[in-house]
Amino acid sequence: MTNPTVELTLPVMADMELAATKTAEVVAKRMGLDDMKTAEISMALIEACINAFEHSKTKDNVFITYIIQEDTLVIKVGDRGVGFDSEVVAIPNIDEKINSSHKRGWGVQLMKELMDTVKFETTEDGTTVTMTKAK
């Protein structure tokens, strides 16, 4: 049997990541996830959307798929941009960020800390980040 799936298409516009979190809240509630896990999913989703909006260097839409499995929520955030290599992203450190001109770069770390699994796949068609959270 196919898992129930919710699909969302976001234009690259300010604060559109909040539309993704609203959908996540509905899906998480439907699955019976608790408030903290729901908030963690929303926060990770915000960072994934911002990554897609900013780092993909695309004006195209961002595509989000929520796959409702029996015990796990799977979220895929895809863009058609230039690609993203998560392996070369340095682990950020607050001590180094202070007095540095580059204070950003926390998104991947936050996603990894807030979700159970995070995987990036880049092809010539774009990048998809797949995140999971168990109930």
Binding site: D15, M36, A39, E40, M43, I46, I94, I98, R104, W106
Partner: protein, 115 residues
């Protein structure tokens, strides 16, 4: 229209910034701007009441690092109060809570910063 606004008050020398809404890059810039202005006026203690900010993003929070940076070496302090659990967890992951204490309430924050 940005989903963010804030109120500023001076409580016996402690600048209390009460935020309302999503702390994104716009919100972070608004908060940092007022704090940096107050620092230039000689203020050194800041309490950010984020009770009505249920969600943040890393860009907005990273802009607040500028305020922490500016207070370094001035004997100044910045703290937060009434943080939602996910906001506190985000601050912990980013290491913000290493430089800024988190208090349960504005009253507690004001009392500690006054000491």
């Amino acid at each position: 229209m940005p989903d963010f606004d804030m109120k500023i008050k001076d409580e016996n020398g402690i600048i209390v910034v009460t935020t309302n809404g999503y702390l994104n890059n716009y919100g972070g810039e608004q908060v940092a701007s007022v704090c940096l202005q107050k620092i230039s006026e000689g203020k050194r203690k800041f309490l950010l009441n984020v009770e009505k900010t249920e969600m943040v993003n890393s860009i907005g929070v990273s802009i607040l690092i500028e305020v922490i940076e500016e207070l370094q070496g001035t004997n100044g302090k910045i703290a937060f109060c009434n943080t939602a659990p996910i906001v506190e967890k985000t601050f912990n992951i980013m290491g913000i809570s290493k430089y800024a204490k988190i208090y349960a309430s504005e009253e507690e924050g004001l009392a500690e910063l006054s000491a």
